[in-house]
Amino acid sequence: MAANILILCYLVASVTFILGLKMLSNPTSARKGNLLAAAGMAIAIFATIFLYEDEAGMRLHNLGWIFGGLVVGSVVGALAAKKVKMTSMPEMVSLFNGMGGACAALISIVEFNHLVHLSETTMKQEPVLTAGTILIIALGLIIGAVSFSGSMIAWGKLNGKVKDFSFAGQKIVNLLFLFVALAGAAWLIVDPTQTYVLYVILVLSLLYGVLFVLPIGGADMPVVISLLNSFTGVAAAFGGFLYDNKVMLTGGILVGAAGTLLTILMCKAMNRSLLNVLVGSFGGNKNAAAAGESGAQGNYKEISLSDTAMLMSYANKVIIVPGYGLAVAQAQHSCHELEKILNEKGVDVTYAIHPVAGRMPGHMNVLLAEADVPYEKLKEMEQVNEEFKNTDVVLILGANDVVNPAAKNDPASPIYGMPILEVELAKTVIVNKRSMKPGYAGIENELFFQPKTSMLFGDAKKVLQDLCAEVKAI
C-alpha cells in the first residue's frame, strides 16, 4: 500500500516538473510554474522519507539525520537566496547547481561502498555489483563531480574572484584526465574490490571540471552554467537509474534535455557555436588587441551634461541602451527617474535590450524591473533595430560590445557575427562610460569615433542624477 502511494506521489511530482517548466517559459504563468514544481518536489521528498521501502520491505531510518540535513539546507539555502543582491543572481544559480552535482557525486561514493560491503558479506547467488551498476555509479560520479567543480569555478568567475587562465596544451591535459577517469571506471567494472580507484576517478573528474571552465571568459559564463545545469540533470538521472527511481529519472532527463536546448538557444543569440564558446575561449586577447589596432582609433567628441539634457528634452524619441556598466553603478533607479521626467516632457522613451547585455540573458530586464520600469518599455533586439532609424537620441549606459559595429564589419574581430543593436542609424548617439577603456571583449569600439557619436564620461549613477536635474530645469 505504502509503495503504491509512493509511486503515485512520484508520478504527481513528475507531472509538476513538466508543467512547471512549461509554465516557466511564459511571463504570465512563470511564477506559478515555479511554485508548482516546488510543491511537486516537496511531495516527492516527504513521500520518500515516510513511504519508501527497499527490497526487504524496510522503511528508511536515520530520520533524525535526514530532517536535520533538510532543515540546515533549507535555512542556509533560503537565507542565501534571499539576501543576495539581484545582480548576483546568476552566480547563485551556478553555486546551487554545483551543490546538486556534489550531492550526486556523494551518492555514488556512498552507494558504491555500500554495495561493495554488501557483496562481501552476502551469500546471494546473483552478483550485487553488476557491471551495469558500477557503470551507472561511475558515470554519476564523474558527471556530478565535473558539474560541481565547474560550477564552483563559474561562480568564482562571475563574482570576479577567478581570473581566466589557460596554459599551452591544456586541452590535451584535460582530455587526458577525462580519459583516465573513464578508464578507471572500466577498471572498476573489471575489479570492483579496488575501491581506491573510485576516489581517483573523483579527483580526476574534479580537475576536469576546473580546467574545463577555467579558460572560458566571464562573458560566456551564462552558456557554461546552462550546460553544467544540464550535466547535473543527467547526474540526477543516473541516480534514478541506480535506484530505479522514476521521479529522479524524469526530473533529471527533463532538465538534461531542456538545459541542453537552452544552452544551444543562448549560443544562437550570440551567433556563436557551442564548440566555439567552450574551446575557442572568447577571442584570445592577443588577437583581439591586434584586430583593434587596425583602424578603430581616431578622435572622439565629448558632450556636456547640459547639451545632453537639451538634446534629450527636445527629442521626440529616445532609446536607452543599458549595459553591464549600469548594473555596476547600480544606476537603474536614476535611469528610471530620467525616463519619467522625459516622459512628462512628452518624449517617447524605450529601452533596447540586447540578448547578452550584462552578464546573463535577462540581466538588464531584472535590473530595470527592480527599478519599476514597466515591462512594456523593454524592447527586444529584433524589434527595436527597426526603430533606430526613427530615433533622435540613443543613450548608451555602460554597454559596449553589444553596440560595436565591428561585429558586422570586421571579420577579424572576436565578436564578428554577433547580432548587435543598430544604434548608428539614429540621429545622435550619446555614450556614457567611465573612461575609454574597452568592454568585456577587450576590443576597441569604432562606434565611439563615428561622427554622430559623443562621449559623456562619468559614473552612470552620478551622470543620470545630474541629467535629471538638468532636464527638470529646462
Binding site: 512563470a30 540535513g69 539555502g77 551543490m99 556523494l106
Partner: protein, 102 residues
C-alpha cells in the same frame, strides 16, 4: 547483437521514459523569449535538485555504525536541499521582478 537486444527489451520501460522525457524537455523549452532564459535556467536548476531523493535513500539505509555513510549522506542531504530550496527561492526572486505594475 543478441545481448544488446536482450538488454534493450529488459529495460524497455526505462528506455521509453528516457526517450519521451528528452522529447518533452525539448518541446517545453520550444518558444522561450530570451528575457526568460535566466529564470528558466534557474527553475531547471531547482528541479534537478530532485537528486536529493537519492541522498535521502542513501542516508535512510545507512547502518547506525557506518560513520562514512552517515557523514557523507548527511552532507549529501544538505547539499541537495541547498540546490532545491536555494534554486526555487532564487527563481522566485527573479520572477517577482517581472510582475506587471499598473
Amino acid at each position: 547483437m543478441e545481448q544488446i537486444l536482450n538488454w534493450v527489451s529488459t529495460h524497455q520501460q526505462i528506455i521509453y521514459i528516457v526517450v519521451l522525457m528528452i522529447f518533452v524537455g525539448i518541446e517545453v523549452i520550444g518558444r522561450v523569449p530570451s528575457v526568460l532564459h535566466t529564470p528558466l535556467m534557474s527553475g531547471a536548476n531547482a528541479i534537478h535538485g530532485v537528486v536529493i531523493i537519492g541522498a535521502i535513500i542513501v542516508m535512510g539505509k545507512a547502518e547506525i555504525d557506518n560513520y562514512l555513510a552517515l557523514g557523507l549522506g548527511f552532507l549529501a542531504v544538505i547539499l541537495g536541499t541547498l540546490n532545491v530550496v536555494g534554486g526555487f527561492v532564487v527563481t522566485d526572486r527573479m520572477l517577482e521582478m517581472f510582475k506587471k505594475k499598473k
